[in-house]
């Protein structure tokens, strides 16, 4: 597919940035340090990004972890499409890549990485998907933005920014790899 060729859609005029490129880099660095700290050296950490943008965030985090620990950090992707609980509400979506690092996840500390934590349903699906792939020692969650409004008992272990929002607002993460620039935009839902 050619969606990486598509220029980022122009945002509604009232969409305002809440994190800019340097902020994003900074919070990822902080999260990397937190992971090392909590995982006691991060020697069994596997990072799994949730497509699309979670994968890029996972790769960036891995790079930072490698700088800190001077070790190779396994990083992969986990597509949760076929585990979603809202499949029957939409036409089927194109699948994204699930790419589990060669040594697998059994007995490892898996850190799931996503851009925005909202209802928690994506993470629920990710936990189910993980269950079919192996048995990690523990699973943790890192997100760039937590915008609240959880519908399931799920919380993040590492949060880049807590962003209180209303349900009428949208949170849009843009990353250079996909969108040509790094930013997090808070806007109003179309038509509101």
């Amino acid at each position: 597919m050619d969606k990486h060729d598509t220029p980022a859609r122009p945002q509604a005029s009232d969409a305002r940035p809440v994190l800019e490129g340097p902020d994003i880099a900074r919070v990822l660095t902080r999260i990397a340090h937190e992971i090392v700290e909590r995982a006691k050296g991060a020697d069994d950490v596997v990072l799994l990004g949730i497509p699309t943008r979670g994968v890029f965030l996972a790769q960036r985090l891995a790079a930072k972890l490698e700088q800190i620990t001077d070790r190779t950090i396994p990083v992969g992707s986990l597509d949760i499409t076929m585990y979603r609980d809202d499949l029957r509400m939409h036409p089927p979506r194109a699948l994204a890549r699930t790419d589990i690092p060669g040594d697998g996840i059994d007995g490892r500390l898996v850190v799931l990485v996503d851009d925005v934590l909202f209802s928690g349903r994506t993470i629920r699906a990710a936990l189910d998907a993980l269950n079919d792939i192996g048995r990690p020692r523990a699973v943790q969650l890192a997100v760039l933005v937590d915008r609240g409004h959880r519908e399931l008992p799920i919380r993040a272990d590492y949060v880049g920014k807590n962003l209180p929002t209303s349900l009428r607002e949208t949170v849009k993460v843009q990353l250079a790899e996909e969108d040509g620039r790094d930013t997090v935009l808070l806007g109003a839902k179309a038509g509101q």
Binding site: D79, M82, L87, R93, I133
Partner: protein, 323 residues
Amino acid sequence: MQRHLISAADLTRDDAVLILDTAEEMARVADRPIKKLPTLRGRTIVNLFFEDSTRTRISFEAAEKRLSADVINFTAKGSSVSKGESLKDTAQTLEAMGVDAVVIRHGASGAPYRLANSGWIDAAVINAGDGTHQHPTQALLDAFTVRRRLLGRDAGLGQDLSGKRITIVGDVLHSRVARSNVDLLHTLGAEVTLVAPPTLVPVGVDTWPCTVSYDLDSALPKSDAVMMLRVQRERMNAAFFPTEREYSRRYGLDGDRMARLPEHAIVMHPGPMVRGMEITAEVADSDRCTAVEQVANGVSIRMAVLYLLLGGNEPAQTRTEEK
């Protein structure tokens, strides 16, 4: 995509590429310890087989089960030409049991089309081979195999088969595999050549989007893939060709002929192979022959088709269909 999959000709290029890309992801599930996805939980699929075809039924069944669908197998064994009424009645009986999709194999060309369009049932209909008409999932798995081998697993993603030269050899007249492949490969941009004795090419083939040749040897050096069709020995009795030996000599693929293929070219066979007839053991067992791979790919393709037709509240949309 349309609600039913009756003919390979019903697929647009984007539909077909989406199916192949989806199948590529489905194939990765086969490498996992737990080869199961919850996607079709609660969906009921019936495999309605009026014609014996263990390999196709098993392939569909494996795909359905990997997607967690509830599977009912119905095999109308022995009824070579089952009465029309029983097709309708059987279908309606199954519908009454709350079936979401019917995978149908039938000896009569058009039976799946009829099932999908006669108002007998509401379920989605997937054609698993009808008479000498179509076998769309076979064509899809063949295209998938070609793309993987000629372009590569990852490099092939999002790609069609533009410019690839595919030669299909054998009993085109009686082959639903040939019809489906001509349609699909053409849609995907490939150049298709049919090679057969003139008796085994249908009258009217001149309107098909392919070229026809009676000479295998001249077609081979210009082929990126050569697809051998099964030739039933009984055809000999209806004067389609004089003897098995003459058929093999003129249209069979042996080691010498395989050597005329370009180095990268592959040899395909939908199975079951008639060794010694259209293909020699030497070719069938060579690294270039993808017959076994095709079987594995069949499960991935059928998973993809089932997911894209049944995974949501309506069939998947491709870019051209999005509003």
